[in-house]
């Protein structure tokens, strides 16, 4: 039932509404709203009950194992939420003077320093509000760099076929054309394809390493040498940083510019689809172009660095300084981990992924790159299973939901047929991984004996399979009173 269907005309919550004030309604009628406002008229209890019940129709990290590949659904520590929700932090106005926010700015400054340390970059700006905006900032800086050098014929961004869709979409938003390059049989960038694509038109290469195929590109130093040799820049998509946190710095691999997803690696909550935060880091030569504002320090006082101090900056990406509350949560998480804890994240994420990979392969599931070591995630392909049983990646995903597990990422990367991208993260216990293996073992056997059970899954959720074709054909995006 929708909240609107609980509504009764005239029902109000006086405790939450400001009192009427005399003389308020003095605006001319021409400025006033004419049509009725369709908001629910429900009691506080009705609203609380409705949204509590809705919450119970979700899978979440707090309730379910959530091995969604390339999304790093790890535990979100409560301390981070508690600290970020301290009343003074919540009440602080974004335009309040720096003098009234030294505590807040100290946290952000230190977070910038921590991110510089883990990435090996020379400067960090925290302002991008999600990974895709970080990508935009990164590619815009590449463009600004080439333009500042008078090297404006560079019109093309190279992107491996396995990349996230945000990479090509971002390159186009930054005014570039996209050229896809191939990945070799082992999942590494195909060097011949790269060499063929490189030229005076190359602005740069966008790369995720480890890639979305769940493997570490072993030839990364050669890739960097080739791209730099052609005058291009190397962009690091930090979606998979969890796999190498504290073990390898993107700066050491030769990357010139990176973005991080703090809602992945630094454990800020995913919130049902955001907010995230996508800080960017740059090498020395891209420092002048960092997006503003970011935090500077001088004689123990913190201040905003703005376009006045950075005239070559690509500019601003948000009305204020980005997703401050997300950044505070990431800062608390980073301090809880500390120097020793950072590499432990990568170690146990990789341990969990390799353990799960090994056990699923033992059941008969096919790895897309079985000869390779898994990173923090791995890719299965169900092509053979589909050919023999008609069971698809979707069928497996839906059955997992019935068994109490969120499904892995399905049908991504697009180049691998019937694939499941599985990322357990370091915060899952071996018992939970084993329970997932048991569920997959059951699926494997049912696929061969009673495939209809999988085709009809899920059965135990609030709804059965949803008619997505109808949703797109008979668009119903807004409720109307019958």
């Amino acid at each position: 039932m929708l909240i609107f269907e609980h509504s009764r005309p005239g029902r109000v919550n006086p405790a939450q509404i400001p009192g009427a004030t005399a003389g308020g309604e003095d605006l001319p009628a021409v400025f006033l709203r004419r049509q009725p406002l369709l908001l629910p008229e429900v009691s506080e209890l009705q609203a609380v009950r409705h949204y509590t019940r809705l919450s119970q129709r979700n899978f979440a990290i707090d309730t379910h194992f959530y091995p969604l590949g390339s999304c790093t659904m790890k535990y979100n520590p409560r301390a981070a939420n508690k600290a970020a929700m301290l009343p003074q932090f919540l009440a602080r106005h974004p335009l309040a003077p720096e003098s009234t926010g030294q505590g807040f700015l100290a946290c952000l400054f230190e977070l910038q320093e921590i991110l510089k340390a883990v990435t090996g970059m020379k400067g960090v700006s925290l302002t991008p509000m999600a990974g895709a905006q970080g990508e935009f900032a990164g590619v815009a800086m590449m463009r600004a760099y080439h333009t500042a050098r008078g090297d404006s014929a560079r019109s093309e961004i190279l992107i491996p076929r396995a990349a996230h869709g945000t990479n090509p979409a971002t390159a186009v938003m930054c005014g570039y054309t996209v050229r896809e390059i191939e990945v070799d049989q082992q999942g590494d960038v195909d060097l011949e394809s790269l060499k063929k694509a490189l030229g005076p038109q190359t602005a740069g290469l966008m790369l995720t390493n480890p890639s979305t195929l769940g493997v570490f590109d072993r030839q990364i130093l050669e890739v960097a040498r080739l791209v730099h040799g052609a005058g291009g820049l190397l962009y690091y998509d930090g979606a998979n940083l969890n796999a190498i946190l504290g073990k390898v710095k993107p700066g050491d691999m030769g990357f010139d510019v990176i973005h991080l997803n703090l809602h992945k690696t630094f454990s800020t909550p995913h919130g049902g689809g955001g907010p995230g935060a996508g800080p960017v880091g740059v090498s020395e030569r891209l420092l002048p172009f960092l997006p503003v504002p970011f935090v500077g320090a001088h004689s123990g006082q913190y201040h905003w660095v703005t376009e006045k101090m950075r005239p070559q900056s690509i500019g601003r990406l948000s009305a204020h300084m980005g997703n401050a509350g997300v950044l505070l949560r990431a800062y608390v998480y980073a301090r809880l981990l500390g120097r020793e804890g950072m590499p432990r994240v990568a170690e146990y994420a990789v341990l969990n992924a390799n353990y799960l990979f090994k056990r699923l392969m033992a059941l008969g599931f096919a790895g897309a790159y079985p000869a390779r070591r898994a990173t923090h995630e791995f890719l299965l392909t169900l092509k053979d299973l589909k050919d023999t049983t008609t069971i698809t990646a979707t069928d497996v995903a839906k059955r997992l939901l019935d068994q109490g597990f969120h499904a892995p990422t399905v049908y991504f990367p697009l180049m691998v047929p019937e694939c499941l991208l599985i990322e357990p993260t370091e915060t899952e216990s071996p018992e939970d991984l084993d329970a997932f293996v048991d569920a997959m073992a059951d699926i494997w056997s049912v696929a061969h004996t009673a495939p209809d059970v999988l085709k009809n899954a899920p059965q135990k959720l609030p709804v059965r399979r949803v008619d997505e074709v109808r949703a797109a054909r008979d668009l119903d995006l807004v409720w109307r009173k019958a």
Binding site: F4, R11, V12, Q16, I17, A20, G23, P28, L32, R33, L37, L38, L39, V42, E44, V48, H50, T52, N58, I61, D62, A79, Q88, R92, H93, P94, P97, T100, G103, I114, K116, A117, A132, A140, G165, A169, V178, F216, R218, N261, P269, G271, G274, L317, A319, N323, A324, R335, L336, E340, L351, N354, R359, K398, V463, D467, E468, L475, L477, V478
Partner: protein
């Protein structure tokens, strides 16, 4: 190790299953020269007690102020239930609802949100959020250029939030889109005739309502001017104002796109984020919309069900041909906003708007009794902000107020040289008569002292 559950016995068993002798072996494919030393730049770990102590100290250091700042971020009362519910783990720790059967809670909530935003703005459809108001304006500009198809020039009044204009420029300039800025008049709004003269051959017009100065533009006439020239119109609105003031769908021939900052709907100020942007439009234009959209449909048994829809617009399907690169958006803030709007209802949200307007009127009336403080646009209608001119230096005055625990408003001089002596003030429903009186008393003392005793007068 923080948040890692493994015992030593677990590790040994898992390594044996994998068939390697150490965790380090699992990193064997990474070239040895790339392996880094311990991270000197990261401090030693703190436990929960110590980090919470540190964070409380820093929060205490920042303190709390009596604030009359607005300028795009507004202090409103947020019902206690809003964030109690929003931070439930089932909302807080879920992700984008890619698996609809396991995400009906988030999906239904987003559908309810789209319905509320569509009604609030008077538009036919809405999406499930963008990052913030400024980036939503940039996305609306890109959408309008796609819809128009022939022009890449956008007419942008100077009365639009100056940082929004900067953000729009950052985001759209690489696509050769021109932002044609129309100067604001001496009365704090743009002249409809000036705008109309610029509309020929333009793709779209931005109509801010209220504008950055709190003033009410001639929205219907501006929208009509855009329509007459074959251009689209983009209403940039405060969602709380829409509960009382005429929304974009009602302006003249009706706006094509409505966008804005969602923060006033239940989101704390939080130094600037996370907030959320909203975008609503005509149904005919829905396929050019950026961002996630939720649709209502049925499941196999014909039961009501919700799912992400029109995903063929999006980056994960369409890649370089997507309507935007946006992926993660602001789901949790939308959760808060939806619950906020449900608790306030139509009458409650309207009352927030009316009371904020009334409090600002009282604030202006009281402050302009002070000799040396004038209303920059006397008699002109505003929503809940106003521009005051001071005959003493604005920055010094703000500093003196800050020393008294008061944030007295936003200095307009940085972005508007013609208003170098002016302050943008705001009083929402959170301000009492006593708050206003306290502000007035301090301001009066500061202004009269400066008038009698200018600090550097002899240097003139």
């Amino acid at each position: 190790m923080p948040f890692i559950p493994h015992t030593q016995a677990d590790v040994e068993r898992m390594l044996a299953t994998i068939g390697v002798d150490s965790i380090e072996t699992l990193f064997g494919e990474i070239p040895a020269e790339l392996r880094c030393a311990p991270l000197a730049g990261v401090p030693e770990a703190l436990n929960e007690q110590d980090i919470l102590r540190l964070m409380r100290e820093r929060a205490d250091q920042d303190g709390r102020f009596l604030s009359f700042l607005g300028a795009g971020a507004y202090e409103h009362h947020i019902p206690a239930a809003v964030w109690e519910l929003t931070t439930r783990g089932e909302f807080y720790t879920a992700y984008t609802p890619y698996q609809p059967e396991a995400s009906q809670g988030t999906l239904q909530l987003l559908y309810e949100f789209q319905t509320m935003i569509a009604s609030l703005t008077g538009m036919e459809v809405a999406n499930a959020s963008l990052y913030d108001g400024a980036s939503a304006l940039a996305e609306a500009i890109l959408m309008a250029v796609r819809l128009h198809g022939r022009s890449r020039r956008i007419v942008l009044p100077e009365s639009v939030h100056p940082v929004y204009r900067q953000v729009a420029n950052t985001i759209v300039r690489a696509q050769s889109i021109e932002l044609d800025v129309v100067p604001v008049g001496a009365d704090g709004v743009v002249d409809v005739r000036h705008v109309a003269a610029r509309m020929a051959g333009a793709a779209a017009l931005i109509v801010p309502m209220p504008n950055f100065f709190g003033r009410l533009e001639a929205a219907a006439e501006l929208t009509a001017a855009a329509s007459d020239a074959g251009a689209l119109s983009i209403g940039l609105v405060n969602p709380v104002a829409c509960a009382w003031l005429s929304p974009p769908g009602e302006w003249g021939p009706g706006c094509d796109i409505a966008v804005g900052e969602g923060q006033p709907l239940g989101v704390p100020l939080s130094s600037g984020g996370p907030y959320f942007g909203f975008l609503a439009c005509r149904r005919a234009h829905v396929r050019q919309m950026p961002g996630r959209i939720v649709g209502r449909t049925v499941d196999l048994d014909g039961r009501e069900a919700f799912t992400l829809t029109l995903q063929a617009r999006e980056q994960h399907i369409r890649r370089s041909k997507a309507t935007s690169n946006i992926c993660t958006n602001q789901g949790l803030l939308v959760t808060a906003a939806t619950i906020h709007m449900a608790l306030l209802g139509p009458a409650g949200l309207r009352q927030v708007a009316v009371t904020s307007h009334a409090n600002t009127a009282r604030l202006v009336a009281r402050l302009t009794q002070i000799p040396g403080v004038r209303n920059a646009f006397p008699g002109a209608p505003v929503f809940h902000e106003a521009v005051l001119r001071l005959d003493v230096p604005v920055a010094d005055t703000l500093r003196a107020l800050e020393a008294q625990g008061i944030l007295g408003g936003y200095a307009l001089g940085e972005h508007y040289p013609q208003l170098a002596d002016a302050l943008l003030v705001c009083a929402t429903e959170t301000k009492t008569d006593a708050d206003i009186e306290l502000f007035a008393t301090h301001l009066e003392r500061i202004v009269s002292k400066r008038r009698l005793d200018p600090p550097c007068a002899y240097k003139d």
